[in-house]
Symmetry: C2
Subunit: 512 residues, 2 copies
């Protein structure tokens, strides 16, 4: 597909429940005109609500330029909706007869070249297409709620489906930012819902037995393996966790557990040599390009990124992490730094996800590093988490960053800080370096920052506490004996005063 083509102009959605309306929202966001039919009296309202939710979600998901929204209209019958559409999506309730009658309606007006898909979670396409006049253009395209956010679509062909229609459906899905998964045969519930259904049935047993409540089951998922499954499925996860023995060893080790009473699914496949071989071979094909160590590294990086994303939202496992970090902050030793030397305020790794399209750490992450360095300096002068909770903090008023070199993912960086002045205004100068053997090496950037001490209630400037003032001033007095940084007091575009040395030897007396 070329970058500029728009393979799809007009679609129809028949059945506008959560799934149908989700399809409509995804199509509209991508600039496709959609006609919806649903007999429910409030279908238009509900569809518009889902579209509004999708707009909000897409704003959160991406800052890529949004296409011009498609036009939304409502039809009075499935036949009316289907007329003129290139793709007709059926999302009526899971009932074979109702679905078949919807197709019969659609086929009255559908253009010859129109694709017809069902969103069914598990009814076989061969059954669905049985009575159709043109079954060749019918298949299952099974999405996952919320359709406007989750990428997976299972594409399942029936006996009569024309193979090229599957490729066409996949192309439509890719155009919508989705991930088509071509299912290789017709099995009730396909792939994902086979897994989901068994997990659901097991969960119902847990509730019925009184072994766990719904909340406990949900927590058992989202604080544990659910986080793994957001980025690797079960086979690759087990391979990564299986250590050096690989999948064969893992399977051999856990085969006996298939006979234990660890699940209500007691009809288990015989874990014979053939099945072990098949799984091991498929797993080799899937992940064999990487060692267990590499898989582990990727998994850990992903898990950390997902956990940090949730922490920033203070949700689920992210809440646990946020509380933990608070404790780490509170219990970190609060030694006062020596006043005559630069204060080490940062030592960390550049994350893979900080890389931008230029192949280096994005500029905003330099400021993230400096922001962390400022937080650490604040902590050291007593303006820590407790202080902020007590109603006071420093807010940044101005920032000046001078870049001198690039930083790459995986590289260790460190920063030290010179306090240029302290008090109601806190004037900081950070230097960011690559770190080698725990020491600053290649200079990467400098950050000059002016912070104002504020009352968190009024959000206005005020004097800091005596302790914060005293500790800050002690540092500023000590650091006044150090050379004034050449990059400080400069405006954008100024050349450094001396090319060869990064420090000005003349103490600059500019008051802050």
């Amino acid at each position: 597909m070329s970058a500029k083509t728009k393979p799809l102009q007009k679609a129809a959605v028949v059945g506008a429940g959560v799934i149908g309306a989700g399809w409509a929202a995804r199509l509209l966001w991508n600039g496709v005109a959609v006609t919806v039919f649903d007999p429910a009296p409030d279908a238009a309202r509900k569809t518009r609500e889902v579209c509004a939710a999708a707009d909000i979600a897409m704003e959160k998901l991406t800052s890529a330029p949004a296409p011009k929204r498609g036009a939304l209209s409502f039809a009075k019958t499935a036949a009316e909706a289907a007329a003129g559409a290139e793709w007709i999506i059926e999302s009526v309730p899971e009932n074979l007869a109702r679905k078949q009658s919807a197709y019969s309606e659609m086929e009255k007006t559908a253009e010859e070249g129109a694709l017809i898909s069902s969103s069914t979670s598990g009814i076989l396409p061969s059954q669905l297409q049985k009575e159709m006049r043109f079954p060749g253009r019918m298949l299952v395209a099974h999405p996952f709620n919320p359709v406007y956010l989750l990428p997976l679509v299972e594409i399942v062909c029936g006996e009569k489906t024309d193979a090229k229609e599957a490729e066409r459906a996949a192309e439509y899905c890719r155009f919508l930012g989705m991930r088509p998964l071509l299912v290789r045969g017709e099995t009730p519930a396909f792939i994902a819902d086979r897994i989901l259904e068994s997990a659901w049935r097991e969960a119902l047993w847990l509730v019925k037995e009184g072994a766990a409540t719904t909340a406990e089951i949900d927590d058992a998922i989202r604080y544990g393996f659910g986080i793994r499954w957001a980025q690797m499925g079960m086979f690759e996860t087990y391979r990564a966790g299986g250590g050096e023995g690989g999948m064969r060893q893992f399977l051999a080790q856990f085969a006996p557990a298939l006979k234990w009473d660890w699940s209500k699914l007691t009809n288990t496949p015989e874990m014979d040599g053939e099945l072990i071989e098949r799984i091991a071979k498929q797993s080799d094909e899937q992940s064999g390009g990487m060692s267990a160590r590499e898989l582990e590294r990727i998994r850990d990086g992903n898990l950390a990124a997902v956990l940090r994303a949730l922490r920033a939202r203070d949700c689920a496992a992210g809440k646990t992490l946020a509380e933990y970090e608070k404790r780490l902050h509170y219990s970190a030793p609060a030694q006062t730094p020596g006043a005559n030397a630069l204060v080490p305020t940062l030592s960390r790794t550049v994350l893979e996800e900080w890389t931008d399209h230029n192949g280096h750490m994005n500029e905003s992450r330099y400021l993230e590093c400096f922001s962390e360095a400022s937080d650490e300096l604040m902590r050291l002068i007593g303006a820590d988490f407790c202080y902020i909770r007590g109603g006071h903090s420093y807010f940044t008023a101005e920032t000046h960053i001078c870049h001198s070199d690039e930083a790459r993912a995986g590289e260790r960086v460190c920063a030290n800080t010179q306090v240029l002045s302290a008090g109601k205004k806190l004037h900081l100068f950070h230097r960011l370096y690559s770190e080698e053997n725990g020491k600053p090496a290649r200079p990467l950037a400098t950050g000059e920052h002016l912070l104002l001490h504020v009352d968190m209630q009024t959000r206005r400037a005020c004097e800091p506490s005596a302790e914060v003032l005293q500790k800050g001033t002690a540092l500023a007095d000590g650091h006044a004996r150090l050379p004034r940084p050449a990059e400080s007091g400069r405006k954008v575009g100024d050349k450094p005063e001396k090319k060869k040395t990064s420090e000005s030897k003349n103490k600059n007396n500019r008051g802050d």
Copy 2:
């Protein structure tokens, strides 16, 4: 637990496979001394490798101050390891006899007050503790791989376990940044592994039937419901997706599916009124404080955040998103902006996760906004993704940000851009505002940026293409007729030239 206490000084780990070594790594990172016993000859090497992986992962997870690492030592027997430990963790293979013999060894030297826990995935604690001399201090604490990252620990008491030991184990877990889940009774495989085991058995059937390969099953999980399960479990997800009818309607609607052949788990509980009522009531308790709309909003925000985290890593569903965004960028209309007016370069929502401990958008996110605005300006002058892929780009050399107001999560913000000069050096001035009715309202910050045109191979400055030069210069020439921004050409701490107006009327001729 008070903020500064350290409830645990010394632990023992008996059995250092993936789980035992993971425990050791988590304990050590948190400053706890750990003695490990494992009879395998390479146990020490493997443990150290897991600890090294954990160190890397923790660096990626958090920038909170790390405690001083605990000391790691190795013992020659389980008894030697157990001596002096406050918490003795058994992680030997899933074999009742082997586990019991490990406890018998431990109890030879364990201190009277020591807690003994098993990491078993499913053997009942009542069985495990049966032969122990002091079974009251024994329970199951079941973690999830990788133990150093995933927070969940299932705490399960046996018949003889002293109830206060469960609270103690939970406190230890919380100290380690984990999320203890007290399991209410003894069921084989507890909660999480009941779900996992049924899903695993179903997946084995899928492979055996030839319905899907391991890679396809993994994709069916990680591009779809796996992302949901990273933040909500199945009950709350279904409630959020169930729409206005709530859990009762959802259950009634999907009860018939329990009889369908959608899973090999055909022994399903009767979905009678009592079970529906129980689930609906538990779900109300769990999520009833929020409407379906609110749950949906939280879910969508979480999903978007997880997807963005994965996109930044170019992994799993994040890869799909990255490809999609590339297409959106390529296919966005490339109209050239009028040269006589400021160029709109940003319009977006402040994400919840951009909020810092001061309760407003963190400073680094201001630069993220400006970075996005610079990218858009670059796109408009022809220095777009294609241009970068062709081997040239602009790198930021200097940045000066002046803050004038706070931005809050959920607020819409927008930016416009004045090109102060163009060419090999691109001098941009962004103004960030809160957005109201699609128009700039309250000024939030300004960003002055100096970018250098570079050759992506040599990473050195070079001249831009004729098209980029021409388009950039046209904008700069047009914008030279606009007032020079008062905040440009300023150094940190300078007062704006005029207090009442944010623009200087005198055109500043400073060359760039």
